[in-house]
């Protein structure tokens, strides 16, 4: 691909867009919307983090010190919902908005108006989710949803108004995500630069394409499930009520038909971004582009048919258990292909270790632990012991914090200079990285041992023999939480100023997005680039 450089004036000919608050409320610009998604995500990350630090403080010692068990239950459930739906998913959508048009040579997203609505549904949804906390202070209701994020019936049929708020919040979040997904699919399928065949599409875009399809398939099923919950609660239906001929296990099927693909929804954008970062900092082309595309698709398809591994102890018959065990384990094959490609991309490269690269390597190692412990959990016989223990908590935090959040941080450091036109502080970034990996492992590694020793999850109090590991975990969690202030500070400084970033930003980058100026012009590609087939 040979290139012509663009040095377009950021605001040339487009001085007529509104400014101030109106700019953000009405914007249909993919970069503005991307920025809003990312900012919202960061705020929610801190909100969800604050909630769980309160939980960890309670768990520092056995006994009940700080809060009532009911409040503890509310915190863990809302923490998870906030982190998954309001922090991690919007971060990935923010990336998509910012980067997809730049990467495929499109002037904007396909459906800009829809894009604006998709974002502005998020703040009300987050408000709905957390409002019962505030209402309870005024004596209205008994607080937020206290069922854990999985909302299992019959507990959720019996719960207070917090459950209704959570149901409506999930509806709105779901609509927002489906709108975002439709937009992304339309952009990727219809707006690629001439010459960019589907197979040549950058891996980040591929990861998002699979994610978007998964979202459109699974979110409606969750929406249906929580709607049934709502009618069970208020309109006399009994979908999940055994006495009325329903079945509470049905809720688990509906939830996890969404819930398992959801974990891939959260990670596919990150898996898509990883090879770009690895290739940049090893100054080598991505190894196995095509293999990774097929890997994404295989994981997406397999991910849809393994959901019952989340309730293997609920009384499933043996043939079903065996099926879900083997199909779950089969997912590790395409996942291993991705790991192999990541490592092969780095193999014998001229590596340098800027902050994004550190995060990428941290991601590979720690996410590897998530995958390996997942295999252990998938074993029916072993899962009978580990299910609903702290082992599961540790497993999915290696997947979602070290995989998801650290993956997002990789992307933020990698693209921040492109977005702002300034370099962030490399010194602060490295400090942030080391504090994060070390304290992350202090927080979650002990939880594997707690789980193996039999500590159940979702309890505010525990037996004395678990004290030391819980104390270590709590100290780790507070360091981890506080370290993230460095992240926010570094981003803030970078937005305000700093060394100028070049258009290419990093020495080893390749791809259309690095040909635009840093920051890119308000309208990304006024003239569409053409990809020559010669490569």
């Amino acid at each position: 691909m040979n290139t012509a450089t663009h040095t377009l004036d950021p605001h040339a000919g487009h001085a007529h867009h509104p400014t101030g608050l109106m700019r953000w409320l009405t914007t249909t610009n993919h970069k503005d919307i991307g920025t809003m998604y990312l900012t919202f995500s960061l705020l929610m990350f801190f909100l969800g983090g604050a909630m769980i630090l309160a939980v960890r403080a309670e768990l520092f010692q056995p006994g009940l010190q700080l809060m009532k068990p009911e409040f503890f239950n509310q915190l863990i459930g809302v923490h998870a919902l906030v982190m998954i739906f309001a922090a991690l998913m919007p971060a990935a959508t923010g990336f998509a908005n910012w980067m997809i048009p730049l990467m495929i040579g499109a002037p904007d997203m396909a459906l800009p108006r829809l894009n604006n609505w998709g974002f502005w549904l998020l703040p009300p949804a987050a408000l709905l989710l957390t409002m019962p906390f505030i209402l309870a202070l005024f004596g209205i209701g008994d607080g937020a949803v206290a069922t854990g994020w999985t909302l299992y019936a019959p507990l959720s049929v019996q719960g207070g108004i917090g459950v209704d708020f959570a149901i409506f919040s999930i509806h709105i979040l779901g609509i927002s995500s489906i709108m975002g997904s439709i937009n992304i699919i339309a952009t990727l399928l219809n707006m690629r630069a001439p010459g960019m065949t589907l197979m040549k599409m950058p891996l980040f875009c591929w990861g998002w394409l699979v994610t978007a399809v998964l979202l459109i398939i699974t979110l409606p099923v969750l929406a249906g499930g929580v709607t049934m919950l709502l009618t069970d609660r208020h309109f006399g239906t009994h979908f999940f009520d055994a006495a009325g001929g329903g079945d509470p296990i049905l809720f688990q099927h509906l939830f996890w038909f969404f819930g398992h693909p959801e974990v891939y929804i959260l990670l596919l954008p990150v898996w898509g971004l990883m090879p770009h970062v690895l290739s940049t900092f090893t100054r080598k082309p991505i190894y196995g582009h095509t293999a990774q595309v097929y890997g994404f698709i295989a994981i997406g398809v397999l991910g849809l048919i393994v959901w019952a591994h989340h309730f293997m102890t609920a009384g499933l018959p043996v043939p079903a258990l065996l099926y879900f065990m083997y199909s779950t384990m089969a997912i590790s094959l395409p996942l291993a292909v991705l790991f192999f490609c990541w490592i092969a991309t780095m193999w014998r490269g001229a590596m340098s270790f800027e902050t994004p690269m550190l995060f990428a390597i941290g991601f590979i190692v720690l996410f590897g632990i998530a995958g390996l412990t997942g295999l252990v959990l998938a074993d029916v016989a072993a899962d009978a012991q580990y299910h609903h223990s702290y082992f599961v908590v540790a497993h999915f935090h290696y997947a979602l914090f070290a995989g998801g959040i650290m993956g997002v941080m990789t992307g933020v450091y990698y693209w921040l200079p492109k977005w702002t036109g300034h370099m962030y502080s490399e010194r602060l970034g490295k400090l942030h990285f080391w504090l994060t990996v070390v304290s992350f492992n202090f927080t979650f590694m002990p939880q594997f041992f707690l789980g193996l020793a039999g500590m159940p999850r979702r309890i505010p109090d525990y037996a004395l023999q678990f004290t030391e590991f819980n104390a270590i975990s709590t100290v780790g969690a507070f360091v981890l939480g506080l370290s993230q202030l460095l992240f926010a500070w570094n981003i803030w400084r970078c937005v305000k100023g700093g060394d100028k970033a070049t258009d290419q930003v990093w020495e080893g980058t390749s791809g259309l997005e690095w040909e635009l100026s840093s920051p890119p012009p308000y309208h990304s590609w006024d003239t569409q680039p053409v990809i020559k087939s010669s490569n």
Partner: protein
């Protein structure tokens, strides 16, 4: 790379409509799972669900009694919250031959001073035996109404199919008695 002037904006309408239909289809699929799930569980006996009423299935009268085998059958019962009743099986454990027609009774008493409607939900374990457990008449087929303080013996007539797997020598039938949901 060359540059081309921007092509006229592509129409996205068709694609958007298709994707919306896909989403709507999966919303409907979620609801379709409700009957599908029940049918599936009953058909293969998953989840410990017994057939609702075995007299309605075609393979009756039951197969011949297999006197060479003896099975242990246990009965248990629990009350769900909100039902101020008492329930116990009059025969907690019995022995029978596969194919043999048996009747057993449960004693149920309303401890409150109100008329209350309850619904029993059966479950068989091991779950693979559920399909072989054929109820011909059962108090769980309908809701039961008890006057204040009333007690009643409730009958269950059943056959364990002689085709039941040779691996099974003991099975348990558990009833959970729920307060009947208000009629919608």
């Amino acid at each position: 790379m060359n540059e081309a002037a921007l092509p006229p904006p592509r129409k996205h309408g068709r694609l958007v409509v298709r994707l919306l239909l896909l989403a709507a289809g999966f919303f409907a699929f979620g609801f379709a799972l409700v009957p599908l799930y029940d049918t599936f569980c009953e058909a293969v006996g998953f989840n410990g669900k017994t057939l609702r009423d075995a007299t309605q299935t075609k393979d009756l009268p039951p197969s011949a009694v297999d006197y060479s085998r003896t099975l242990g059958v246990q009965f248990t019962s629990t009350l769900m919250p909100g039902l101020p009743w008492e329930i116990r099986p009059l025969e907690p454990a019995i022995e029978l031959h596969p194919g043999e027609l048996r009747t057993t009774r449960f004693l149920v008493r309303n401890l409150s001073d109100q008329t209350i409607v309850g619904q029993a939900v059966p479950s068989v374990s091991p779950t693979v035996a559920a399909r072989s457990f054929q109820k011909l008449d059962c108090f769980c087929f309908t809701q039961q109404t008890l006057a204040p303080g009333e007690s009643r013996e409730m009958a269950l007539t059943f056959v364990v199919d002689s085709g039941i797997s040779k691996d099974i020598s003991e099975l348990t039938l558990a009833y959970a008695f729920f307060p009947a949901p208000p009629k919608p």
